[in-house]
Symmetry: C2
Subunit: 336 residues, 2 copies
């Protein structure tokens, strides 16, 4: 849920029993927000540190099955001690680093075994299993590369699991992440849970990498032409660095979409991108042969984002539309 | 106010009559927020376009002296017509482009004269004067260059004013912008108003450019060490791309601070920067000779931002502190 951060989006995943769906969040505020929205099975997927124990415990007391992750004995011992003082039980995954792009114990490390052993015998900790997120999948140039990273993600975390099993540590839940790898994977044998995030909206980066079609992108920023700059053969629009974010993740891809790609309100191609941004201005350079006058002041476009997670975070709600008809306004949470 | 976006910050500027201070905002939501906070003299400093007339008129009806900017006859005519239908009067500045970095008429252009003439005779428009923002000042490598851009900003807008005066168009208010140019300028002869924004907090970019000292930076992001990565000789912190923004404006300066510079809670140097970010993870590479163990999990730092406007926008309030003692929590507005 780290992309959508909206109870209304989460509720779509199981229309019969929406609040029962286990969800993953990226901040404690998100956890608190979804708990207030009725969700009770929540994985907080950023390494917990002692400064966050109190807030985490408050969620447990509230009846939320909050699951946390960690990758080192110092935090594990501190958490067990804290849980004892609070007379509570923490639910913990060991994070495994499958590609050097995120936190976690290395699959072949002694630390992994020691930590799992320590957690499995800690009286105030329930060791749930292993989790990872294949951050390297964002280096994929195409879906075939993502598939290879997906294979690597699964092989390495299952290798870590097997080492624990061989050491007599019961590990019966393995959770993996990343939109590119779960889209690219062909099977999930031995995997109990997948945690894609950005798939909920997708974006230009994901489309170009092959994780989706561009027509799958469900998030766009409505903008207006505010100024003509005929001397610069450019338009200014009212979507700048804050409206789009300064994420430039398509810069390393075959087609660099600048700060976003302009389509019509109906989603049709315009041949335009946001080439540069100030805080509230987007600068759109016109292709050869196009004139400012073809885009009167006030003309509306949608801007497709490079990175939906970063762009969505600038807004406190979503205008949900169907064929440009407003259907609803869905609040989201931000912050930490 | 486009950086702070907080009534509590605005109120600091004139303790005797805070709400009387004329302020400049960058979105209509900001204008509405400050109007709700009691401010009545507000310049909306992004070119108005027809889709925003209705919201602007609502502020006028609410008793706010909302001032808007534009740079073309099409918008001017549409605004005058709209104002007539609404039986209201719009207060308008003509935007002047002094350096090709923002909207506005060129100072020597015929369009400038025609537009000013048209506005001065439009029955439902009050022509207030000329405004500009020297966006090029963000290309300054040092304060001397900013000074030269400041001279250029003032010379060109005063040249534009003189052309209007010579044409019999009364222009008695000139407003200029940009923190670098107003800090660098030695005088403001002929200028009625300055509109710096980021000066309210300053940031690493401004400090390195010479607009402030690093000790002037009043905004930082509190973070914690969440993970040790001894194999990568790195720490992970819980301030990533959302917490800092993906602004990389120090990348083009002498010292590249990555996504921000880590200082202690007391503001002392650490020799560390945020080298890379994921959504919620910051990656801090350790200098030669430093070990992860010197920074226990849970260690707190402050991260100074590259660009305060972008970083502040991720938060809905400021924790105001004095020597790490909490003094207050000041809400801010975001969005459009």
């Amino acid at each position: 849920m780290k992309t959508a951060k909206s109870v209304f989006v989460a509720d779509l995943f199981d229309a019969n029993e929406p609040k029962k769906t286990p969800i993953t969040v990226s901040t404690l505020r998100e956890a608190e927000y979804f708990a207030d929205g009725g969700y009770t099975d929540i994985l907080y997927a950023v390494s917990i540190e002692p400064g966050k124990f109190t807030r985490a415990a408050a969620l447990l007391r509230q009846g939320v099955r909050l699951k946390v992750i960690l990758d080192n004995i110092a935090t594990a011992s501190a958490l067990d001690e804290f849980a004892k003082q609070q007379d509570t039980l923490f639910h913990v995954f060991v994070e495994v680093d499958v590609d050097g792009h995120r936190a976690g114990c290395l699959p072949d490390s002694q630390e992994l075994l020691q930590l799992a052993k320590s957690l499995s015998s800690a009286p105030n900790i329930e060791l749930l299993g292993l989790m990872t997120h294949a951050g390297i999948s964002y280096d994929s140039e195409n879906i075939q590369q993502a598939f290879e990273f997906a294979e690597q993600e699964q092989q390495r975390i299952l290798h870590a699991r097997d080492r624990l099993l061989a050491a007599g540590i019961e590990v019966n839940y393995v959770t993996i992440g990343s939109t590119p790898t779960v889209v690219a994977a062909e099977s999930f044998a031995g995997i109990q849970e997948i945690r894609p995030g950005v798939f909920v909206f997708f974006d230009l980066f994901q489309a170009q990498m092959g994780a989706c079609d561009e027509s799958d992108i469900a998030l766009s920023v409505l903008c207006a032409v505010t100024t003509h700059k005929p001397d610069q053969h450019a338009l200014l629009i009212d979507a700048g660095g804050l409206a789009m974010s300064k994420d430039r993740s398509t810069a390393a891809q075959n087609v660099d979409y600048g700060y976003g790609k302009l389509v019509t309100l109906e989603g049709e191609e315009t041949g335009l991108i946001v080439n540069a941004v100030n805080q509230e201005h987007g600068i759109v350079k016109l292709p050869e042969g196009k004139l400012c006058a073809e885009y009167p002041i006030g003309t509306r476009f949608r801007v497709l984002p490079n990175h939906a997670c970063m762009t969505a975070a600038a807004y406190d709600s979503y205008h949900v539309i169907d064929a440009n008809e407003p259907l609803a306004n869905w609040p989201r949470c931000n912050g930490w």
